[in-house]
């Protein structure tokens, strides 16, 4: 069983002085899947990734990545992984191509193969036009793509992405998401940490929610959303006075967003509840701007599980 997992961690512990960064951290990432590791700042996401990527030694527990023990066979693990850290770890002065060539040589490809691989990756990540420009002239998204390309030189079995879109604009984020999807299509397993819930929702097959150094919930995005008690109905009204009246009609569980004139109620039986709510509001003579039935967002799941707002 463990052999079929791309990443398998059991009971990982790491302490920095008084701070227990990881406190019995468990994780299983299936081969060819994307696992999202979701948690607030300081939850232990980066510590977990650094241990799994052989950068940091753990105090307890054990971890197997691509079939090798991270503590006992770090060199074997290094040959099988790619790491994309929180900042784009590329040389600013070198061109995109020179960066990839340098990393290719350090992966011991030899000069000629390093160059050929650099050109392949530049093509694959849409950087061919910018290949002879210094990396510092790249946009955030381009720099990140170059960074990801550098981690893909050996076509690793497992890729670690530590908050890959932090600080990027929406366009940069979607560029990075596309790059990640490209790699998953080629069979790479991905462990992605993020504070952005929509990012995990977009990319991850399974999500582990981490807080205080341990995983507190795990499942597919849909499973996690259902754990919150099913669906919600959003009602939007035209003016403040109606917001107050509608809230009275919808009862105690309603959450009110005064700025957006929006009321949100959790419901159990989707269709029946929808009809009921619509009818009740109509009888109370409330003029709705909009009414919609929806699944809870991961933000709501996150808030419920950790008691903290994400990011």
């Amino acid at each position: 069983m463990a052999d079929q997992l791309a990443v398998h961690a059991e009971g990982l512990r790491k302490r920095y002085g008084d701070h227990q960064a990881l406190d019995g951290f468990d994780l299983a990432v299936g081969q060819g899947t994307v696992c999202g590791l979701l948690g607030p700042n300081g939850a232990g996401k980066t510590t977990a990734v650094r241990i799994l990527a052989t950068l940091l030694r753990h105090d307890g527990g054990h971890a197997v990545v691509a079939g090798f023990d991270v503590a006992k066979q770090p060199i074997e693990v290094k040959k099988k992984i790619g790491l994309v850290g929180q900042q784009a770890a590329v040389d600013e002065i070198l061109t995109g191509r020179q960066n990839l060539e340098m990393f290719g040589r350090l992966f011991h490809l030899g000069a000629r193969r390093a160059r050929a691989r650099a050109d392949e990756l530049l093509e694959q990540f849409g950087l061919t036009d910018a290949k002879d420009r210094a990396a510092k002239t790249y946009s955030g998204g381009m720099r990140r793509r170059l960074d990801i390309a550098a981690s893909m030189i050996l076509a690793p079995a497992v890729l670690f992405l530590d908050e890959p879109t932090t600080g990027l604009d929406p366009r940069g984020r979607s560029e990075v998401w596309d790059a990640v999807r490209t790699m998953v299509d080629e069979g790479t397993s991905v462990l992605l940490t993020t504070q952005y819930l929509d990012e995990a929702d977009q990319l991850a097959d399974r999500i582990s929610v981490i807080d205080h150094g341990r995983v507190i919930a795990e499942g597919t995005p849909d499973q996690l959303k259902s754990r919150l008690g099913g669906d919600r109905i959003d009602v939007m009204v035209h003016e403040q006075a109606e917001l107050v009246r509608a809230t009275r009609v919808l009862g105690g569980q309603a959450e009110v967003d005064e700025d957006r004139l929006l009321i949100s109620v959790p419901v159990r039986d989707r269709v029946a509840a929808f009809t009921e709510v619509a009818k009740a509001l109509e009888q109370a003579n409330i003029d709705m701007a909009d009414i919609a039935l929806r699944r809870p967002t991961l933000d709501e799941v996150f808030l419920t599980l950790t008691g903290k707002e994400a990011a």
Binding site: I75, I81, Q86, A88, A89, L94, L106, F107, H108
Partner: protein, 263 residues
């Protein structure tokens, strides 16, 4: 054997990265080349008129070996900044996550910085010759003088690497940059320690830079050598001892610190 080979190959790849920097962005290299020459000109022609060399002799001939020594010190903060920047940008982590030879990162850095300082030294030698400085002794002594300078630089590179690995705040970098000049002045580089208040003169004589520079003055046969104190009388052996002592301390510390990044 295979491990050693990869250490050298990977080390060269890291060094090569710096060489590509020089080609792509020559401005810092040119500035680095001109700066010590400018300082030398300033001291020689603006301040030099007021300087006297104990025992007589031309101040410019006295100054140039001092400038060679200063040049060895100037690279210290550059080394530290390069190491620091790689760590901050995550480049060090990327190297460490790769199956490359572990010591190669530090080796490559030290070779690149040595090449840089040799280039600066070459520029300064040309400027020194133009300003009237000459080695007066045998070729062997002249070569030994330059080797002592290179040895000092090598020791300072490893001090810089160590500082770059341990100092995590930008303030530490600024402090080091600010200290380079005072440390350079608190020595025999620009003026003879015998002209200073005696306690300062003693500190200056025990500055490791002073031993190297005093030794090179002796070996070049340029004026201003010596002094009565024990340390001044033993300039050449101390010019070996100081850098070797620095290396014995900071080389293992730097390597250990790099290995312990995983703690």
């Amino acid at each position: 054997m295979i491990a050693l080979r990869w250490t050298l190959v990977d080390g060269w790849t890291i060094t090569r990265r710096t060489l590509i920097h020089w080609v792509r962005e020559p401005a810092p290299v040119i500035f680095g080349l001109l700066f010590p020459i400018l300082i030398a000109l300033m001291f020689a022609y603006l301040l030099g008129g007021a300087m006297t060399v104990p025992g007589g002799g031309d101040y410019r001939e006295f100054l140039i070996p001092g400038m060679f020594g200063m040049n060895m010190l100037f690279g210290l903060s550059a080394t530290m900044i390069a190491v620091r920047t790689d760590a901050e940008r995550g480049v060090t982590d990327r190297f460490r996550s790769m199956p490359m030879a572990g010591p190669a990162v530090l080796l490559g850095r030290s070779v690149a910085d040595m090449l840089n300082s040799l280039l600066m030294l070459a520029g300064l030698i040309v400027a020194g010759l133009a300003m009237g400085w000459r080695p007066h002794n045998s070729l062997g002594e002249t070569v030994l003088a330059f080797l002592l300078l290179v040895l000092l630089r090598f020791a300072l590179v490893w001090l810089g690497i160590y500082l770059g690995l341990v100092a995590t705040s930008p303030a530490a970098t600024t402090a080091l940059q600010t200290l380079e000049f005072p440390v350079g002045f608190l020595s025999n580089l620009f003026v003879a320690p015998s002209t200073m208040p005696s306690w300062l003169g003693t500190i200056s004589e025990w500055n490791p830079l002073s031993s190297t520079v005093a030794a090179t003055r002796e070996l070049f046969g340029t004026p201003g050598m010596g002094g009565e104190s024990w340390i001044a009388q033993h300039a050449v052996p101390m010019a070996f001892a100081w850098p070797l002592l620095l290396l014995a301390v900071f080389f293992p510390l730097a390597v250990r610190r790099y290995r312990r990044l995983s703690r």
